[in-house]
């Protein structure tokens, strides 16, 4: 399968690989996927509780090139956004940006799930209600 240049770029030079302190109150962690499915993503956000702005984002991903690229791109997009803005990131934005083929759309879905899981983890730590989707927005 031919990968797009952007996927290859993120795969070869992934942005923001790393680990934040998952026990910190200002860090939200999302761990999604399953080893037996061949994809596991861990996405973490460091939020400034005063401003609600995501100041740092890190990821680690077990998966194919498209899964690595989707999570790398997600961390890039998250940095500097408010938590509320981050919730509006849609998996199809990732598909478009990385030119993912139809068989790789699940990688973008996983990245969106990871973002939402990280935000919810942060919200719960802050004593807030977890964000619940009205209906699945995955495409």
């Amino acid at each position: 399968m031919a990968y797009s240049e952007k996927v290859i770029d993120h795969y070869s030079n992934p942005r923001n690989i790393g680990t934040l302190d998952k026990n910190s109150n200002t860090v939200g962690t999302g761990l999604v996927g399953a080893p037996e499915c061949g994809d596991v993503m861990r996405l973490q956000i460091q939020v400034n509780p005063e401003t609600g702005v995501i100041e740092d984002a890190k990821f680690k991903t077990f998966g194919c090139g498209s899964a690595i690229a989707s999570s790398s791109l997600a961390t890039e997009w998250l940095k500097g956004k408010s938590v509320d803005e981050a919730l509006s990131i849609d998996n199809m934005d990732i598909v478009e940006e990385l030119a993912l083929p139809p068989v790789k759309i699940h990688c973008s879905v996983l990245a969106e799930d990871a973002i939402k899981a990280a935000i919810n983890d942060y919200r719960v730590k802050q004593g807030l209600e977890p964000f619940v989707e009205d209906k699945p927005t995955h495409h």
């Binding site: 996927g33 037996e36 061949g38 994809d39 077990f62 998966g63 194919c64 690595i68 799930d113």
Partner: protein
């Protein structure tokens, strides 16, 4: 300097040996006759060339030339063997025994026959990829007409106990077919000593061209017949109609003649290179060889690198052409059924690479491969959350995963 990419997917197909190509060329433009044309020199030349090739191919497997039926390849040979035997011997019984790690050309043909009233037993291999004689013996019934068991597996290279299987089938009076696609031309195959009654193999796995294969059909002790699956001019003793692919057959014959002479030296050299590759990659933590290391082909290995996903790994070793058991290489999300049937965890099945060496593989290429795979595995582990969890001592089985 190593020429890139390095080709190590020789279980999928091998390049044509230049000596094979040279032998074939005159049969496209000069000696282009139809081997069935009995009335002129063009036909006679073609027929002579086919006769010689048939002898060389038969000689490689200790058969006689009349027992070689040319087909388009091993998939057709497998179809002809299974469907042809089932139709021919249906009144004797409807039970066929095979194993669950066969190639799809066998497994899908078996499913097809099930719809026509066949009963199929799929023996389960052990962790080493092998079946035992006791398993086979227990599965045999009075309705059993055919046992079909591959000589060597295409994904992991393990070699089944063919001689014992053949002896048991002979003693029970049951026909024995073997898909020997990966074995012929690589290791000695002797249809008499192995008591094989039908055997499928193909040119393009042994440095010959694609599009030409053979089915060995025994003529003595017992005399075996298969019902033709294609109607036409009654070529190949009535078992496979269709104008003979003369250039392909000539190439197949040349490849067989070369294998007869060079196979042993190739095997010795390649098993040393394979062992060098395997030993070096086993130095990586949490790396494993899949399947028996004792009973297997000399030129290939299948390895898993835990906590690294196969397709991601293939992308990281783009200068090496290999295949992976990962789900992502297929349209389905299922990893290799061969590896799963060995009882491998899905993670290990997803993390596998298959290396197949050839007559043309050099030591420099193997050194390059070792370096390339080690670098990629190390890099991908640094970005793998599973590797981090493993290093922290978390049991991945205790984690509640969100399946998708």
């Amino acid at each position: 300097m190593v020429k890139l990419p390095v080709y190590l997917d020789n279980n999928a197909t091998t390049p044509v040996d230049s000596r094979v190509l040279e032998a074939m060329i005159p049969f496209f433009t000069q000696h282009f006759g139809n081997a069935s044309s009995r009335n002129h020199a063009f036909g006679w030349e073609a027929e002579d060339a086919v006769d010689q090739a048939r002898k060389d191919i038969a000689d490689l497997i200790h058969a006689s030339d009349k027992e070689i039926i040319f087909t388009s390849g091993a998939t057709e040979s497998n179809n002809l063997a299974l469907k042809g035997v089932f139709e021919m011997y249906r009144d004797k019984g409807n039970h066929i025994i095979t194993i669950n790690t066969e190639h799809k050309a066998i497994l899908d043909t078996c499913s097809h026959l099930e719809k026509s009233g066949a009963e199929i037993t799929y023996l389960e291999t052990g962790e080493d990829g092998l079946i035992t004689i006791e398993q086979l013996e227990q599965a045999i019934r009075k309705e059993t007409i055919l046992v079909t068991i591959m000589y060597a597996n295409n994904e992991i290279g393990v070699v089944q106990p063919i001689r014992e299987i053949g002896a048991l089938c002979a003693a029970k009076g049951i026909l024995f077919h073997s898909d020997a696609t990966q074995a012929v031309g690589k290791i000695p195959v002797d249809v008499i000593a192995d008591n094989i009654h039908l055997m499928s193999f193909t040119a393009h796995k042994m440095y010959g061209p694609k599009g030409i294969g053979a089915l060995y059909v025994r003529r003595k002790n017992p005399r075996v017949k298969v019902t033709a699956q294609m109607d036409g001019g009654g070529h190949e003793r009535g078992m496979r109609s269709g104008t003979l692919n003369v250039p392909g057959i000539v190439g197949f014959g040349k490849a067989a003649a070369l294998a007869k002479v060079e196979m042993q030296a190739d095997a010795e050299r390649l098993s040393k290179l394979r062992d060098k590759l395997e030993t070096a990659l086993l130095e990586l933590e949490e790396s494993y060889v899949n399947g028996s290391r004792e009973h297997r082909l000399p030129h290939c290995t299948n390895m898993s690198f835990k906590y690294v996903e196969g397709e991601g790994l293939i992308m990281g070793v783009k200068d090496i052409a290999v295949s992976s058991g990962s789900a992502c290489t297929s349209a389905s999300l299922e990893p290799s059924y061969v590896l799963k049937n060995l009882g491998l965890d899905d993670e290990l099945a997803h993390s596998s690479l298959r290396f197949g060496l050839s007559r043309f593989t050099t030591e420099e290429e193997i050194d390059f491969t070792i370096n390339c795979v080690k670098t990629a595995v190390t890099r991908l582990r640094e970005m793998s959350p599973l590797w981090e969890m493993f290093k922290e001592g978390i049991d991945l089985k205790s984690v509640k995963w969100q399946e998708h």
